[in-house]
């Protein structure tokens, strides 16, 4: 069950943040939001979410910089991060995984896909991010 868990969505698009909220609302998952990487880091420190959905292209601080800062922090590095991006390509995805992202999903995401991945990460066994049992990169 993912009920009662807390998710942080970091995206400069209010529409995307709303779409993420609407996916998790029926599952009684608390969704907190941030509009850029800097706000996202502050929210992550304050709220200690169970999972972060992270956009790449954002003002102030982009998703790559936020991911690097998260993974360089001894506490925050434990929070799994799923990259949500409209940009595509294996090289791009591999870079996100190398930086410590758990998975990379292309926008627009499907609600079922987001829920399935969230359950896998939060409830199922959490494989090592770069192991062969990890979800495929961009899908």
């Amino acid at each position: 069950m993912i009920t009662g868990r807390k998710i942080l969505t970091v995206d400069d698009s209010e529409m995307v943040r709303m779409m993420v909220m609407q996916v998790f609302m029926p599952h009684l998952v608390a969704v907190i939001e941030a509009g850029n990487g800097l706000e996202g880091l502050a929210q992550a420190e304050r709220e200690n979410p169970d999972l972060i959905f992270l956009d790449i292209t954002m003002p102030v601080m982009d998703g790559i910089a936020m991911l690097q800062r998260l993974k360089g922090d001894p506490v925050l590095r434990k929070i799994p991060v799923v990259v949500l991006t409209a940009e595509s390509g294996r090289v791009h995805t591999d870079r996100m995984i190398d930086l410590g992202a758990y998975a990379c999903l292309n926008k627009p995401f499907k609600a079922a896909e987001l829920i399935e991945l969230t359950k896998h990460i939060l409830v199922g066994e959490l494989p090592e991010p770069n192991s062969s049992s990890s979800p495929p990169g961009c899908r």
Binding site: S13, E14, M15, V16, M18, M19, Q22, T57, T85, A86, E87, S88, G89, R90, V91, H92, N106, K107, P108, F109, K110, C138
Partner: protein, 179 residues
């Protein structure tokens, strides 16, 4: 940056249709059908046609540039009333309440980026990277998106319920005389 590749207009057209038909149902919740499409070989034309418009109604156009195995710019043109309606619904607002203009800009820009990204993904077979620009929004009643230099221009009309969307593409790719 990957090498630019040459694609036939039909291949690009097919990928654009597929991209729109994947993105729109996921975001707007409605199926989209291709109504018509056209190509313009700009360097052979003395006049550049604008994205066709149907009536003198307020419009909003999202523009996103993309760079990958193919580079160019995608424009998605909506009647403003339609954009207001679907953005409002996404934010769970009453149809009678017009959403804030910035919210509509955000929605139109984001969906344009999603289609551009999907187009790049399809043409690059999911392997080659496709970078996207920040979206730019244009509002007005008579809008012409025109190319500069030797680029290919194509456009597609889509029907989404009772509404229409026009997708315009400006393509800068490897020159292929047979295209």
């Amino acid at each position: 940056m990957p090498m630019l590749q040459s694609f036939t207009a039909e291949k690009i057209q097919h990928a654009l249709t597929e991209a729109v038909q994947e993105v729109f149902p996921a975001v707007l919740g409605c199926a989209v059908t291709l109504e018509s499409h056209g190509y313009v070989q700009v360097w052979q034309e003395t006049t550049v046609p604008s994205i066709p418009t149907e009536a003198d109604t307020a419009r909003i156009v999202g523009n996103v540039a993309f760079a990958g195995v193919i580079s160019g710019q995608l424009s998605l043109e909506f009647q403003l009333q339609f954009a207001n309606r679907w953005v409002g619904r996404l934010h769970a607002a009453d149809d009678a309440i017009e959403p804030d203009a910035l919210l509509v800009n955000d929605g139109v820009g984001e969906i344009t980026g999603m289609v551009a990204g999907r187009l790049g993904c399809l043409l690059g077979n999911g392997e080659s990277p496709c970078r996207l620009s920040l979206p730019a929004i244009i509002r007005g009643r008579t809008i012409r998106v025109e190319p500069v230099g030797s680029v290919r221009q194509m456009f597609s009309h889509f029907v989404c319920g009772e509404d229409r969307v026009v997708a315009g593409l400006l393509i800068q790719d490897k020159l292929d005389p047979s295209r």
